[in-house]
Symmetry: C3
Subunit: 157 residues, 3 copies
């Protein structure tokens, strides 16, 4: 896939360096021609979103949080693959929204990530998705997203 | 696999048209010989289940909600594959139950989906499963289920 | 991979028989060269952890719960593969922590599982991971973990 940098810049967004590895887990791991990504939080450089959606965080802000979380994950993919040329499919986007018990717009929150993917990569970035509202998230972030993507075989490998 | 329509009819259940595509994501996507399915909600035609299980929704009703969610997903598979003949394994069923904090029968709720799969397809439909209780779900549905299934290669492809 | 039994014994831990199959789902299922594991609870023989983390269960105890859940899953892998020799990668560890709404150390809780994997198998057990806080879990367990692992093809198959 090819990331449209103009779209990124027009939105005032950018890809930052990927999160530093911590502890005993890794940010991504290849299995066959899929790359699995750890859950990434709604922190993309200085663009960081915390709090419970529905009470402390409103829908529009939560959508920005979802965008930050997906950019956080794209930074990992970019670093791992040396760009997005080998990225062939975004298979699954699993979205967890830090939700008050009566907040029911998790799908709209995740549109902040899904729409951005298609704006950045075009219609071939359409993906499967789940959106659920969880009681709490690490560091009290507003959104966490894990992913599975498909990549071209590495012929040089 | 072959779906036993007699079982479906005896239970007064049916497969409806799959949910219409909305937004930037798709209901299913093939990667290798697996089909990934987006999270599907406990709405199967007129059979729709909303509310928090444990307080607003009782166990028996929640089990029907899980059945509705899995039928919602089977409708997507049927539409994608033109039937169930190419379906070889139900790899993973990920069940999210809209739960009050003190409700602890998520496994029994998901039996409403797991048992139905085996009743409809036979023992070869046995699958791995996770069942968790989430704080909230999109549209306040009672149950959401995402899936991974395995399919035969498409020789005509 | 090779499990270091000395580490297990030094910690006073052990692998118990895998949970008995119940209902219409199975503890694990192979798809291609991956093994998918159902969500396993924080019960490893007599070592069982229940309650909501943040209020009823403290961080140190929750980390032991995560270790119990991952040992519960390793027991399934060991039983399925007849050992760990055919286990080549731990692809994904999906951790669900039974959390009070204000508990935000889910990542530290999951370190109880991630660190143990690396202590037992060495650095090749590094894996992707998600850690979320859910409203409730089956049987009121403290932690539930599902997994995807990669295995060598079964040449004898």
């Amino acid at each position: 896939m090819i990331l449209n940098n103009d779209v990124l810049q027009a939105k005032g967004l950018k890809l930052n360096p990927p999160p530093a590895p911590v502890g005993s887990y890794v940010q991504c791991l290849q299995s066959g021609n899929q790359l699995h990504l750890s859950g990434g939080i709604s922190v993309n450089g200085d663009d960081a979103y915390y709090g419970k959606v529905g009470t402390e965080v409103d829908l529009a802000t939560a959508q920005k949080a979802a965008a930050a979380a997906i950019l956080n994950r794209l930074a990992v993919i970019q670093h791992e693959l040396g760009g997005f040329e080998r990225l062939t499919k975004i298979v699954a986007v699993n979205g967890f929204v830090n939700s008050s018990p009566d907040f029911t717009d998790q799908a709209k929150v995740l549109n902040g990530a899904s729409d951005l993917l298609v704006e950045l990569f075009g219609p071939e970035a359409a993906h499967t998705r789940s959106a659920v509202g969880v009681a709490a998230l690490p560091l009290n972030v507003a959104v966490e997203i894990s992913m599975v993507v498909e990549i071209e075989p590495d012929y040089a490998g």
